[in-house]
């Protein structure tokens, strides 16, 4: 069962929820029926919930994206993939549980699913380094994507990481190289790839499995070059609630921001009050997005697919191009 966890900005809801519970407890026991009151409170509750979630600040969004009850890759796989066959290991160094990979059927489509895994209980979280993958995780992801390519199976990646793991072993085994190679190789894998940032999209650690034909974010996910805390610590010289909030704002981390910048193509809606309130409903929206996009992409010829994928990333960036100064007259041939 989901553990109770309340974010400050949700506090106003808690009181109403407990009132509803109290009335529900009394209903049926006595002669009085509180159905009307309960319905009224529910309506009020949902209106307030809507209002709160419409007004989330970027730093609130980060809180929602990190909510302990927010569904993770393993949950989505369970909810949207039939007959999942997990595949382990990078065949080079080891098995990194921080990235799950395997075959599964989504709707009628056979897919390779690759997703960051944060872990559910304490032991699993530690084994997964809270979703921070090591080089072997990225290499495993690539190995399985190449396997999918071999059998013409499309790829779905679910991004949910604070960032790639910063550690001695990770550096020794080439964290930077592993991420770089994944980006290079994903740009030329000849099967359709769709990626969705389902929670946290932390920098290179996220992008290392997110070079795709179509990229989306769940409504309350974040995606940026660095976490707000990391950015605040460097640019504001200290990370505290105030600077974290400013950094989150400045970094343009929300789904809407990323959509405007062209970094993601779609926003996948979440149920009212976030995926953590209704994981099953969130899974339905995600599944719809995956199926509709993969079915479209599957019709593309591999060449077209790769060209469009290249052009998609090629076009990203913001700059001005000034008119170059006129070139000096070419010297006459002598």
């Amino acid at each position: 069962m989901a553990i109770p966890y309340t974010m400050e900005f949700e506090q106003p809801l808690v009181e109403i929820e407990s009132e509803i519970r109290a009335l529900e407890g009394r209903s049926g026991s006595g002669e009085q029926d509180y159905a009307e009151e309960i319905a009224g409170l529910r309506k009020h509750h949902d209106r307030l919930l809507q209002k709160i979630y419409n007004g989330l600040t970027p730093v609130d969004t980060v809180r929602v994206a990190r909510h302990p009850n927010r569904p993770q890759s393993s949950d989505y796989i369970r909810m949207i993939a039939k007959d999942f066959v997990e595949l382990h290991g990078d065949r080079r160094y080891g098995e990194d549980p921080a990235i799950i990979t395997g075959f599964g059927r989504i709707g009628s489509l056979k897919c390779m699913i690759v997703g960051h895994n944060k872990g559910k209980d304490t032991n699993e979280k530690i084994a997964c380094h809270f979703g921070c993958a090591h080089p072997e995780g990225y290499r495993k992801a690539l190995a399985k994507m190449k396997l999918a390519e071999k059998y013409n199976v499309p790829i779905v990646t679910l991004v949910d990481t604070p960032g790639a793991f910063p550690g001695v072993g990770a550096e020794q085994r080439g964290q930077a190289e592993a991420i770089a190679v994944n980006m290079r190789e994903m740009s030329r894998i000849r099967v359709p790839i769709v990626s969705c940032v389902i929670g946290e999209g932390g920098s290179g650690g996220a992008l290392g499995i997110a070079v795709a034909d179509r990229v989306s974010m769940l409504q309350h996910a974040w995606y940026a070059v660095i976490s707000p805390e990391g950015c605040a610590a460097i640019l504001w010289k200290q990370a505290n609630p105030q600077t974290n909030a400013e950094a989150a704002q400045a970094l343009h981390i929300t789904a809407n921001d990323n959509l405007k910048l062209g970094i993601v193509d779609d926003i996948v809606e979440e149920p009212l009050g976030g995926a953590q309130r209704d994981p099953a409903a969130a899974a339905v929206f995600l599944k719809e997005w995956i199926v509709s996009n993969l079915s479209k992409l599957r019709r593309r010829k591999p060449e077209t697919l790769l060209n469009k994928r290249y052009d998609r990333f090629r076009a990203l960036g913001a700059y001005d191009e000034v008119t170059p100064a006129p070139a000096p007259d070419p010297r006459p041939e002598s």
Partner: protein, 280 residues
């Protein structure tokens, strides 16, 4: 900073190592001996006593690497904008203006056509002096155009990296430059191009985690800091002393992550030799 006998990065690279103090003489941060500045400078900014490699800007690098007058800058008409209206303690606009004034350059990379010992190639050099050589939209775009030029004209490609990583002030857009340059390198690779990646002190973050580590041949200057995460971040994460020499060029070579550690004074020769073996 380090409490044990092993040398940490903070000791190897004292603050301000990138800035050479004014004056005729200077104390080398590598061996602490007094050196005559001119002698160091004519020695390609390498300490004549201990071979400590001073950090150099992109112009100096181009001068050192290329044959006399054999560099033609390209894509210089690209200008940085401030897409996110980013403001931390200062605005990005102000930071850019200050960096542009300091370096006399619009952005943190030089790209162009070059000859090294008579071998024609496409060259990109990140400029550490411009916002720590960070990867921005313009830097990513110029490098991508350079890679595409090398692909189209079937020329070897050399990129000299020295960078703190992706530029935070352009957030997701700078992150995307990692994918963009890597994708361009995939095409260059498909065309069987030779990419020599030269890593200098420091090469970290989003630059190491994209084009810098994708060289067909990767060479590094001695004792450069090279890594994905910065040493401080790692120390805070693992709460342990880092091993001696951690994240140096030599450490990376021992870990199997790069091909050669090359003295700056040999760089021209090495690049030319590699092009003769693997270039077209």
């Amino acid at each position: 900073m380090a409490t044990t006998g092993t040398k940490s990065w903070a000791e190897l690279k004292p603050a301000g190592a990138s800035r050479i103090p004014e004056g005729l003489w200077l104390r080398c941060p590598g061996c602490a001996s007094m050196i005559y500045r001119k002698q160091m400078e004519t020695n390609q900014h390498v300490c004549p006593e201990c071979a400590h490699h001073y950090r150099i800007g992109a112009d100096e690098r181009v001068r050192q690497l290329c044959d006399d007058g054999a560099f033609e800058p390209l894509f210089d008409d690209l200008r940085c904008v401030d897409p996110l209206k980013f403001k931390d303690l200062k605005t990005y606009k102000d930071r850019l203006a200050a960096e542009q004034k300091k370096t006399g350059r619009h952005e943190g990379v030089i790209t162009g056509r070059a000859f090294i010992k008579g071998r024609q190639l496409v060259l990109g050099v990140l400029d550490l002096h411009f916002m720590m050589g960070t990867l921005s939209s313009v830097v990513g775009e110029k490098l991508t155009r350079a890679i595409e030029l090398a692909t189209a004209e079937d020329l070897p490609l050399v990129i000299v990296s020295g960078s703190g990583g992706a530029r935070m002030q352009e957030s997701g857009l700078s992150l995307m430059q990692m994918a963009k340059t890597s994708a361009a390198l995939a095409r260059f690779d498909d065309a069987k191009g030779l990419f020599i990646s030269v890593l200098t002190d420091p090469t970290t973050g989003g630059v190491s985690a994209s084009f810098a580590m994708l060289g067909d041949v990767i060479i590094a200057e001695p004792r450069a800091l090279i890594g994905f995460a910065g040493p401080r971040v790692i120390q805070q994460t693992i709460r342990q002393e880092l091993p001696p020499g951690f994240q140096t060029s030599e450490f990376l070579m021992e870990s199997g992550m790069l091909d050669r550690v090359v003295d700056r004074r040999e760089l021209r020769n090495e690049i030319a030799r590699l092009i003769d073996y693997a270039g077209k």
